[in-house]
Amino acid sequence: MLFAFSIIYYHLPLMLLIISLVYSATRHDDWDEILGEAFRWGIRMFGFILCVAAVLFVASFLIH
């Protein structure tokens, strides 16, 4: 049950990789720039998701 619940989070790296790569590739033609920008966007998105997760984690304690 725990595995079934948590398996959805394995999709997160895949989504971050694809979205950041495709988005960056529409902004640049040079591969070094594409990969650099994809890395930066990946970090930004992961940071944003971490912030949301932290807020929800704290909120879950407050509600209880």
Partner: protein, 193 residues
Amino acid sequence: MSSAPTDNSSSKPPETSMTAAVLSYLIPGLGQIYQGRFGKGFLFMISLLGMFFLGQAMGNWQNVYMPGGDEAGQRNRGVVSALITRWHFIGQFWIGINAWPAIWQFYDMPMPSKEKSAFWHNYQKTPNESEVNQFLVNSDKQPDLGWVYTVIAGMLNILVIYDAYAGPVFNPNLKPTSRPAGQAGEAKKEGVA
């Protein structure tokens, strides 16, 4: 002291390509391949089509459709009503021909018979509500993530279409115009006036 006049030939807008844009709409990345940008073309094609089909598979191939009929299969909705009911398709549509079977099914066009191929008969067809509910009840959160994959793939392809049409956002061939000092001063005066 005035700087030397610069060559403005590099500041002309990049050439746009409607053919490449249409090709990238039909199949993600095909426009870039048509333009000779093979690496990016294959990146878009594999990423977006992979995402779209993975999303469909996660939703048991029942999350890309335009609801057009009732339980008996009679079409009783217009396009606008169908899109309001199933707004996901507005995003999924932009993946191109891979979402066209939903439109095909919406207009009740001929598909392989159920006996011949049940999968293709029901491909992107409005699913039976009770079957979908049963599937969702017995699943984890993957079906929800599945339709998100399909919508994101379609929305990202809008950026890909624009890239095929006008090039990347930061186009190396489009350098900022640098005017001679005299002209810049005149432009300022015009702005004040």
